[in-house]
Amino acid sequence: MRAAVRVAIAGAVLLAIYALRLGVEAAFTEYVQRIILLAGINVILAVGLNLINGTTGQFSIGHAGFMAVGAYGAAFVGVKLAGPVHGALGSGAFSDAIVFNLALLAGALFAGVSGLIVGMPSLRLRGDYLAVVTLGFGEIIRILFNNAAFLGSATGYFGDDPSGLPAYTNFFWVFAWVSAVVVGIHNLTFSQTGRSLTAIREDEIAAEAMATPSTRLKVTAFAISAATAGIAGGLFAHMQAGVRPEDFRFEKSIDMIVMIIVGGLGSISGAILGGIFVAVSLELMRDLQQYRLVLYALLLIVIMIVRPQGLLGTRELHHLLRRKKTAQPATPTESA
């Protein structure tokens, strides 16, 4: 019964996204559609990064590295899977969907496992070791891809087909994955695990004294966060003809940090707003490409002075709405 209701809700959401897709594709130019897709991918990145940087309070500044692992992993697996799957199911939208989602999951898995490898040694310690290690990891991964001949080295990976990677990514898949990631991370954050992660952020010694297995939880949260960056990477890879190492420079990690700080560290709704903000502002600042980091730095400084907790602080939009609703009965017309 319960499961049936949930499947029905999930089906309705997917149907709604599909209908929206038709609307969006009819109403907007390809240019605007691309910004919308990038905004969706940013939301996945921001919500995932917020789990470790915001909720758990362990700062990663190299998340572009995990996005790169997911992008290359998904692109490579997608290319290798396409042949056998098309052979078994015939070519068409259905088998494309299977290939694409398997490729995304593979990208998430690769990114998640790299998260485990990076997180296990660096999260045993308290303090800012994770920031240093992830910074190094992001650069090392990019240089590895830059030199991996089977992945196209510095020119990037374009698959076996001369026309490049198949353009699987569209409005439907991006927002289906946005919904899955947002709901999943939301449920995780507002659970016993989420409470334990917040407790680790607030006071790790006290959390451990309350039987919280802090290292295990930090590593788990970090791997989940890396895996979501991997999904975003896979979606990003299939938006364009290929994946290039320079798509995942340090600036990309900074963009992600701007997303979660603008919205409010620790708030999922804040991360969503931040992701959209960065997608739109990057487009608006396209002409000043190389000055954009200067502007972001300025923006961060202004935010730290004016509103250090970000737009939403650690609160969620629906909490604010709920508070408003409970305040309403006080109006005279309602009480009369």
């Binding site: 449920n187 016993q192 695990t193 917040t198 407790a199 010694i205 004294a209 309350m210 039987a211 650690t314």
Partner: protein, 261 residues
């Protein structure tokens, strides 16, 4: 068998011998006081018992099992709860959430079932919420359950730490200066609450406290340390007049002072 037995425990920080050869036993159901001047090593002893520090020498037997050097989370799981001298609550979380953090043994649902919100997850979550509110009721914090913990007055934060510790369903509760910052009314209530924990919940309590009204009222046995070493142990009445305790707290009477008196 005592619930907790320390045997010749040493803790050394560089050149500082913070705890030197301390031994004591705490019987099940006791309210045991641990006192001494500032810097005597009381909190270090708590940290050694709870696994924050590993002792250089000696044994710490909890329910007959040596726990010296185990990880804090494991010792907590075995049934040792504590509060902190400099309050360590989770400030941005609500009062109820603070308590729920310690409820891992009631919430066995996996991360996967939390993400999928399975029935097992929701059953555990309800059990945990219910238990948290029972404990907040005992400590008189039930009305504040939804408040942000960092906004509570000092005394309430101290009681919240006790409620959070109780969530572990511990055998042994270590209270590090629970009366610090409390007014005399709050301290009297605290006395009753500590007795309630022992009488009604069957807990064993070790108390580090400077408020002598609380210590002398509520403890049955008092262990006194100074400069990391044991100087006395006994009932409150004996400790009050013990010459070495008086010397440690008030200073030695020098022969000169005696002569001039």
């Amino acid at each position: 068998m005592s619930l907790l037995a320390l045997r010749a425990v040493d803790k050394i920080f560089g050149g500082l011998h913070a705890v030197r050869g301390v031994s004591f036993q705490v019987e099940k159901g006791a309210i045991f006081g641990l006192i001494g001047p500032n810097g005597a090593g009381k909190t270090t002893l708590f940290n050694v018992i709870t696994g924050v520090y590993t002792p250089e020498h000696g044994e710490i037997a909890f329910q007959g099992k040596n726990i010296a050097g185990l990880k804090p989370a494991l010792i907590a799981e075995l049934g040792v709860a504590r509060t902190f001298q400099n309050i360590r609550i989770f400030r941005t979380m609500t009062v109820a959430e603070n308590v729920m953090v310690a409820g891992h043994h009631l919430h066995k649902a996996s991360i996967g079932s939390a993400i999928l919100r399975t029935r097992a997850y929701e059953r555990d979550e309800q059990a945990l919420t219910k238990r948290a509110h029972e404990l907040l009721e005992i400590l008189g914090l039930a009305e504040l359950a939804g408040e942000v913990a960092g906004s509570l007055p000092y005394g309430s934060q101290r009681r919240l730490e006790i409620a959070r510790g109780l969530m572990l369903s511990p055998q042994l509760l270590l209270l590090d200066e629970p009366a610090a910052g409390m007014n005399s009314q709050e301290a009297r209530t605290l006395n009753d609450q500590i007795r309630f924990l022992r009488d009604q919940l069957g807990l064993t309590v070790i108390l580090v406290e400077h408020n002598m009204n609380v210590v002398m009222n509520v403890c049955e046995t008092i262990h006194v340390v100074d400069h990391g070493e044991t100087i006395a142990e006994g009932a409150p009445a004996e400790i009050k007049v013990h010459p070495r305790v008086l010397a440690a707290y008030l200073g030695e009477e020098t022969p000169d002072a005696e002569a001039s008196a």
